[in-house]
Amino acid sequence: MWVGGYTRNGTRTRIDGVDRYSYMAGLLPFVEQKSVSDIIKSYCAKAAATNPYDGTDSSTKIPNPMGANALADGTRNPFTYVISAFRCPSDGNGTIPDNGSLSGCTNYHICRGDWMIGDKWGENRNVRGIGVPGRLGDGSGDALPSVGMATITDGTSNTVFVGECLVSRSSCSNNNYKTGLAINVDIHGKAESQCAAVRSTSGMFKAGTSTANWKGRRWSDGSAPFTGFHAALPPNMPSCAKNGESTDCTAITASSNHSGGVNVCLCDASVRFVSDSVDCGDLTKVLGNEYGWTGEGHQWTGASTGGIWGCLATPQGNETATLP
């Protein structure tokens, strides 16, 4: 996402790589982490002066949100700082040494909307949630969607801002379907049951499922598995990715160690508990249009087809579904 202060001279001109910064990068000054924010901004300011957008990799010039590598001058990557405010006390996973060797983790994911969708350039990234990835893929060029209070026409009390997800254990084999995510699950443009069906007994993935360990493992990275979630499946169901690439089509599902549900922060800053049994619509409905499938289709405007959970995930659905 684009964050004020991380662009060239205060304009919206792109510095290569900044578009991958997560919403949390923008929150830093507001969670008493201004010193971390200042480090990031100082490098971005320098890069802005010397790095015109020519596609070159500027990951050594600005702090890399996708890894732990230090800056070119040897300064520790500020995205490796462990920020306790970004962690839920009930999640003991993903504790990393605070020594710069790994990216810092987070439990708090911004809501991408009511459907499984990719973050890739060229794909329709105009997702319906508050947590919009950096660029519209609808041919409008570099128009950047702005999200502000005025865009939340459903009402800030009826729209989810942030939900919690358990952080993945670093070793894939140690993850269950709440902490890990299944990869090579063909979720693009199909029924949401494609992802739900990897659920097996005892909290485990179905035998033979390939998995990844991406969830929440970089508070810096704006790509969905790290700091985003989708209200496609109800809380504490599996998360999935279409292939082995973390920025491609994913369904990141809210999860927690709280019994029977997850906490979400609404756009009015209140925190509500959402039950695992929240109405999520019919997961067996085919929602995409691949292969000429016909079906009700995922709705890009108007009321969400994803039940109450889907309605809460969309700021402009013209629906004011509220939690019971």
Binding site: M66, G67, N69, L102, S170, A191, A196, A207
Partner: protein, 167 residues
Amino acid sequence: MDRVTFLINPVDHKMTKTIFGMCVLCVVLFAIGCGNNKLKTEEVIGTIKFDGKPLPNATVNFTTAEGSTGVPGFGKTDENGVYKLQALQGEADAGTVPGKYLVSVIATEMVPTGKKITTYDEVGNVIKMDETKSKTLIPVRYSDVQKSELTATVEAGGGVFDFNLTK
């Protein structure tokens, strides 16, 4: 005219009310304490075959037919083409509730497009992977409950529902 009289023969009227109240409270507390709010389901399993051969890694969807009081179920076939259905609010692999269902099957595989994509590993090193895209393995009509011509009626006790798909 007959009269039905309920005989409550308390020794002490006030005591009975208290005991009754405590019994109700105990039952309520027990019910809350159980914590298992999962939907009661009937086991539904089966084998999916395509062109006579077991179809692995396919998703089976039971969509509630109009007018039925079923609950949608879904399952994924294993390497032998065997699926165990589950409902969202039920336990994993535990089936779904009785009802009439329209059935669809989605079976696809990811195939390389020939292009490479760039991504990053855990510490930020650039790595390249094959780009893949989805390819359907069975006729598209099976993915649409209105066209698949597959149905299932689940009754009390559940059952085995096999589906043999053709080209």
